[in-house]
Symmetry: C2
Subunit: 318 residues, 2 copies
Amino acid sequence: MAQIINKDQIKKVIPSIDLLPIIEEGFQLYSEGKTVVPPVGELLFEKPPGEVHIKYGYIKDDDFYVIKIASGFYENTQLNISASQGLMLVFDQKTGVLKAVLLDEGLLTDIRTAVAGAIAAKYLAPKNIHQIGIVGTGIQARLQLEYLKKITDCRRVLVWARNEMNGQKMIDEFLAKGYNISFTLDASKVASSSNLIVTTTPSKTPLILAENIQAGTHITAMGSDTSDKIELDPIILSKADIVVVDSLPQSESRGEVFQTVKTDLLDRANVIELGKLISNPSLQRQNENQITIADLTGVAVQDIQIAKAVFKKILNET
Amino acid sequence: MAQIINKDQIKKVIPSIDLLPIIEEGFQLYSEGKTVVPPVGELLFEKPPGEVHIKYGYIKDDDFYVIKIASGFYENTQLNISASQGLMLVFDQKTGVLKAVLLDEGLLTDIRTAVAGAIAAKYLAPKNIHQIGIVGTGIQARLQLEYLKKITDCRRVLVWARNEMNGQKMIDEFLAKGYNISFTLDASKVASSSNLIVTTTPSKTPLILAENIQAGTHITAMGSDTSDKIELDPIILSKADIVVVDSLPQSESRGEVFQTVKTDLLDRANVIELGKLISNPSLQRQNENQITIADLTGVAVQDIQIAKAVFKKILNET
């Protein structure tokens, strides 16, 4: 029978897995055409509002295929239930037999998203990061900051919060971890004073304006993953020196690049896929003055890689 | 935590659930536009050949949403593993929380498919069924015959088998159950002597030819569920008095209706959806001379209904 793996088991093994190279390899295989990743399945709900994404696929000639279900029901927090829910399923690629049910309740999706942010920053952030700007105070805001530790020593952080309570809660948490962190309700302050910015909100209007962005800044925008969400002023992308997406096909229908191409401010021909960037140093940041953008909508290959890694780790330990 | 329900538990409760009205209601709600059923997700494999279908959706203002994964890896039988694999997932429609994992290994997909065949026959088969013709000897051949017991007393059956071993195995099984059953290797004999025919193969060339079909015959074609499978000579559909599909949108890209419309032998305007047929007696068989066809490709609403029914039954019993 399939192995049923609960969230506590997953939480326990995650710190012992070096996820950056695993997810990087996934992006590279994806950009080299060595994966099969069909379009994202989507299910929308109105009362209460919710969205479900089904991401699935496999690496060719690998042992497994993976299906990931992740949902966001943002009113859950009123019920003291996490907005993120879901699970990952690992199947045998040769027989279709279900091997593992990872009852992660959205945790692995959150983590692989944060890892992708760290990978983007690894290749695109300026060498000298004087301040990290985090836009949002949710689970991604926290995890992106956690995983950025893998690629930078900078602990000076300015957080944009929608309200004081959210801001205070987040900075209390990271002050306790030794960060030099504060919050503001004014997103333009984050934009104008940070040179590594991560946006993590489900906003439907731009929060970061072009006029506030300094030369040399890298922005990872990971909040916008549907056709109606947007966090960055399209002018930022039109002026950027490097614009990277995790998936070129997905960027045709969702995310910041989709929004910017729609307004004719960006030519799709100038957009680079993250897997290509990882493999080719000449596509990465070349100096401390470039403005660079990574627009991440989340690709099934991240789910494939993290689900396999957790399943194998737990198999080896039992 | 989500309830994990294994195949033995499912097998145990299935006989006590009256599935026909439950699945009928699903088809009606689907045809009335009261469901949300996105396009089928599909994943294909080459070495060994395999296909995975992801069907998912929900009934509006219901308690749950359902995702079903079902695969067919036809070389599994060489390994003594069932070709059908998969599972069903039941989630809370208001929060996205996973409620149940039904580890059915394809069983519920097989059953809901057979139930749909019985429903089609209930409204379309002639009153006097003198012989049931079954094309194929796999799991669906058996289950379709089992579930037809719910709508007809006819126990005279002719089976088309690809080889003697398959044919003998199937008739031994149903002889023991009191059927008057035999097999043939000549599909035209099944077609010319039966007035209720069910085709259940993954054939890529027509097995049933128009010249053999007698007036008054009903055919349920459920084997063809992709764009390249076909079991019926398109001329049969062009001459039929009533052509029904379980899903009009799916029939635009898969199944017998897709194949026939492609050859310009059938006008889509004349095709009726099963849910509409169930609700409207004037669309059902009107006399003993009509030739009727039900082309079933399998709709998520069947999975939604059967998964919910099994989950609720097991909840009530524990």
